[in-house]
Symmetry: C2
Subunit: 442 residues, 2 copies
C-alpha cells in the first residue's frame, strides 16, 4: 500500500495545475490563507487543531509510480504535468496559528507561501484536516469548560470514520480531554488510553457476578465496573461485594443520570466505599455535562457529541488565494467579488490584543499589501499569533508528533485562560467573544 497522501485531494487541484503549468502562471509566487468566515452557530471561540497532522501529511504528498500511473491511465493531467508531479516536494513556507490557539472569524489560521503549483495542490488535504480536527477541538473545549475540572475521556471512535476517530481523539486531547479509548491514538500520538469493559462482557457470562469477578481478577479491584446491565442498585451492591473497598469506580451508561448519580453515590457511601468514583458515559454533550455539575459525578466519558463537533462537524474553514507576487516582486492582493463569499485579500499579520489584566479584547489583523507593513503600537499589549511551521520546505519538527500534541494542549490552556469570562458561556446563539478588527497596511 502506498503511504502517499497525494491523491487525498480534489481532481480540480491537479487540472488547475495542468493548465497553469501550460500557461506559465504555475510559478507565480502565491499566498494561500486558511480562515473561517464565521464560527459554528453557537460558539464564542474556535480552537485550532490539526496543524501538526497537516505538516506530517504534507511531507507525504509525493507522486510515486502508483499515483502517476493512475493519473496517466485516467487522463487527469498531461504527460508534462506528470513529469512535474514526479519531482514534487513542497518547498514553500507555512506560517500560522499555533495548534491549540483560539481562532475567530477571519483569523489567518494557516498561510501557505509558495508557487501557485506547489500551493494549490495542498488545498483539499489541508482543509480536510483543519476543518475536522478544529471542529472536534472547538466542541471539546466547551465540554472541558462545562466539566469544571473533572476529567473527560473521549470514547467516540465508533461514531466517526475509523481514521477520523484517531484524529478526533487527538483533537479532544489538545482541547483538554484527559484520555481516549482509541488505541491507535495512543500509539500514534502518545495520548493516554482508557477503558475496561462493555455490556457484552457481562452478557457473555452466566451471571453479572461471574463477569465482575473475572474483571477484578484480571484488572484488579481498582478497575471500573459497569453496573447498569440489569439493575443499577443491585449492580452497584454486587460491584462493592466483589471488588471490596478498593473498587476504583462504577460506570453508568444509561438512565436519568442526575438522579442516578446521586443515589449511586449515597449507596457507595453507605457501603463504606467513599473513595469509589462514579463515571458517566450516556450520550453526553456540553449541556448534559453542565447539567451534572451539581452532582457527585467524578468523570465523564464522551462519545458521539465530541467526534461530531457537537452539531458542527465541519468548521467551515476555506483555503483562499489572497495575494500573488507581481513581476516587480510586489504582493498584489486578490479577492473574488461574488455574492456572499467575499474574502479580504493580502498578507496579514495577526495579534491578540489583551488588556492590562491579560484578558483578550480583540483579534487584530493587520492587512499588509506588502510584507513588513503595519503592526501594533509598541505601547499595546498584544500577543503575536503567527508561528513559522515550514521554512522553504523544511518542517519545524517541534510542531509534529506526540511532542507537538503536548505543546498544543499546553498552548490551548494558556489561550483559554486569556478569554473573558463570557467566552465560556455555553448558551446557543452567541457571538464571537472578541471582535475581529482589520487594520489596513502601511
Amino acid at each position: 500500500m502506498s503511504t502517499s497522501t497525494a491523491l487525498l485531494t480534489d481532481r480540480y487541484e491537479l487540472t488547475m495545475l495542468d493548465a497553469a503549468l501550460r500557461d506559465g502562471t504555475a510559478e507565480r509566487r502565491c499566498l494561500f490563507e486558511v480562515f473561517a468566515r464565521t464560527l459554528p452557530h453557537d460558539r464564542r471561540y474556535g480552537v485550532v487543531a490539526g496543524t501538526g497532522r497537516v505538516l506530517e501529511l504534507i511531507r507525504d504528498v509525493t507522486f510515486g509510480p502508483d499515483e502517476l500511473d493512475w493519473l496517466a491511465a485516467n487522463d487527469v493531467v498531461s504527460a508534462r504535468t506528470l513529469e512535474w508531479l514526479a519531482d514534487y516536494r513542497f518547498t514553500g513556507t507555512i506560517t500560522g496559528y499555533h495548534e491549540g490557539e483560539l481562532y475567530f472569524p477571519g483569523s489567518p489560521i494557516l498561510t501557505v507561501e509558495a508557487s501557485f503549483a506547489e500551493g494549490v495542490i495542498l488545498e483539499t488535504l489541508v482543509l480536510s484536516v483543519l476543518n475536522y480536527d478544529s471542529s472536534v477541538a472547538s466542541a471539546a473545549a466547551r465540554m472541558v469548560s462545562a466539566a469544571g475540572g473533572r476529567p473527560l475521556a473521549e470514547m467516540g471512535s465508533r461514531r466517526t470514520g475509523e481514521r477520523s476517530a484517531v484524529a478526533a481523539a487527538r483533537a479532544a486531547f489538545i482541547a483538554g480531554f484527559s484520555a481516549t479509548s482509541n488505541l491507535e491514538a495512543g500509539r500514534s500520538w502518545g495520548i493516554p488510553t482508557m477503558g475496561t469493559a462493555a455490556h457484552a462482557f457481562t452478557l457473555l457470562h452466566d451471571t453479572e457476578e461471574d463477569a465482575f469477578r473475572s474483571q477484578v481478577a484480571t484488572m484488579g479491584p481498582g478497575t471500573t465496573l459497569l453496573v447498569d446491565t440489569y439493575d443499577v442498585e443491585r449492580g452497584t451492591a454486587l460491584a462493592v461485594e466483589v471488588a471490596g473497598p478498593e473498587l476504583g469506580a462504577v460506570r453508568l451508561d444509561s438512565g436519568d443520570l442526575p438522579a442516578l448519580v446521586a443515589s449511586v453515590r449515597a449507596q457507595l457511601d453507605s457501603l463504606g466505599n467513599h473513595h469509589t468514583k462514579i463515571t458517566v458515559t450516556n450520550d453526553l454533550d456540553e449541556y448534559t455535562i453542565a447539567a451534572l455539575a451539581a452532582t457527585p459525578v467524578d468523570s465523564y466519558g464522551v462519545g458521539t457529541s465530541v467526534v461530531t463537533g457537537s452539531g458542527s462537524v465541519a468548521a467551515g474553514m476555506v483555503y483562499k488565494l489572497v495575494a500573488h507576487r507581481t513581476v516587480d516582486g510586489e504582493w498584489m492582493p486578490v479577492a473574488k467579488k461574488s455574492a456572499e463569499k467575499t474574502s479580504i485579500g493580502g498578507k496579514k499579520r495577526a495579534v491578540r490584543r489583551l488588556n492590562a489584566r491579560g484578558v483578550a479584547t480583540a483579534e487584530v489583523l493587520y492587512v499588509e499589501a506588502a510584507i513588513g507593513g503595519a503592526g501594533p503600537r509598541s505601547s499595546e499589549n498584544a500577543r503575536d499569533l503567527l508561528h513559522t511551521f515550514v521554512t522553504e520546505g523544511v518542517i519545524d519538527e517541534r510542531y509534529t508528533g506526540a511532542a507537538g500534541v503536548l505543546a498544543a494542549r499546553e498552548h490551548r490552556a494558556k489561550a483559554v485562560a486569556e478569554l473573558p469570562a463570557e467566552g465560556l458561556r455555553l448558551a446557543r446563539g452567541g457571538e464571537p467573544v472578541i471582535p475581529t478588527e482589520y487594520v489596513a497596511g502601511a
Copy 2:
C-alpha cells in the same frame, strides 16, 4: 508504516478479551449483531454502506510486532493475551444486508458469529465504518431522489477527515451519485472523478479572460468554466466568447441560485449556446436541490451536506452481543435490561415483505432462539435480506473492491425502487416508511 487496522479500536475490547481469555469464556461461540434502534430524525429509510470496506479492514486486523510491542509497553493486556493476539486471524462467519440495501429500525445489518474473543475485538472498527458510511449514503440517497434524475457529484472532501473523504465519495456513489471530486476514491474504488477549476485559478491570472483561455486551451472547449468570480453575467458572456458554441458547462458557486440559473440559461440560449449546461455547487442539500427542481439546472455538486450526513453524521448503529451458545450447543439469547437501551436477543432472519405490485410493506424479523427457526410462509412475497460475506474466515471477494461498490450501487437502485412513494418524501419528522415487525421464533 504498519498497514494493520488492529489498533483502530477501543481499549476495552482488548481488556475484555484479556479477562475472557483468563476466565475461559473467550471461546464461547457468540452472535454479535449490528443494528440501529432508530433512523436519523427526518428519514423514512436508511441505506447500508461500508460493508465492503469492513470486510477489507477486517482482513487487515493483524497484530504484528509494532502493535504487540506497543500493547506490551503500555500494559494494555497480559503476556498470555499478547500471544493470542499474535496468532489472531478472524475465522468466524459474517452475514448481513447487502451493501446498498435499505435498512429500518432493528434491521440486523451485520451479524458476526465467532468466539467472543474473535468477535469482540471487531466491534469498534465495524461500527466506525458502518456508522459513517451509512450516514453519508442515507443522506445522499435523499439528494438523489430530490435531483429527479439529474446527476450529482460529491465534492465534500474538504469538509470531513481526509480518509473519511474517500469513504464518503464511495458511499455517495453507492447511493446514486454519479461522480466524486476525490482522486483517492477514484484510485481505490474505481469511482468516476470530476472537476476543472476553482476561483483561485481565475484570481491567479491577470484577467478572467486569461484564466478561461488557459483552461480551454488545456481542457478543451467542452470544459466547465466557473463564471462567478467577479460578475456572473459578464463571466458567462466571456465563457461563451472564449470557448465558443462547444462550451461544455458553466458552474455557479454563489448567489441566489433559482433566479441565477434561470437568467444564465436565458443568457446562454440568447448566445446560441443551447447545449452548454449549468451546474450548481453552492452549499446544496436535499432541500435546496429539490427547490431547484423547477429550474433549468443540469447537474449538482454537493459538498458539506453529503459528507456530514446532512445533519446526522453518525448513523447510530450499535454492535450487540445477542446470543451465545451454551454447553449444550443451543443458542441462548441475551439482552441487557437497562433503561432505554433495550435490545432484542437471539439470532434473526430478515425479509422484506412486498405486496403483489412489488412494493415494500414491512421489514420482518424472525427472531430465532435456535438456528433454523420460523420464516415467512411460502405464499408470502418476501425478499430475503441476509447474505453471507465471510464463511469461517474466508471473505467472499465479490463484496469487496470496485466490483463490490458497483454491485452495491445496483442493489441500492433496486431496493429504492421497491419503496412506497411516500418513502421518498423529504419533509422532516417522518417515520420509517415501513414498519419493523418482530416474529417470535419456532
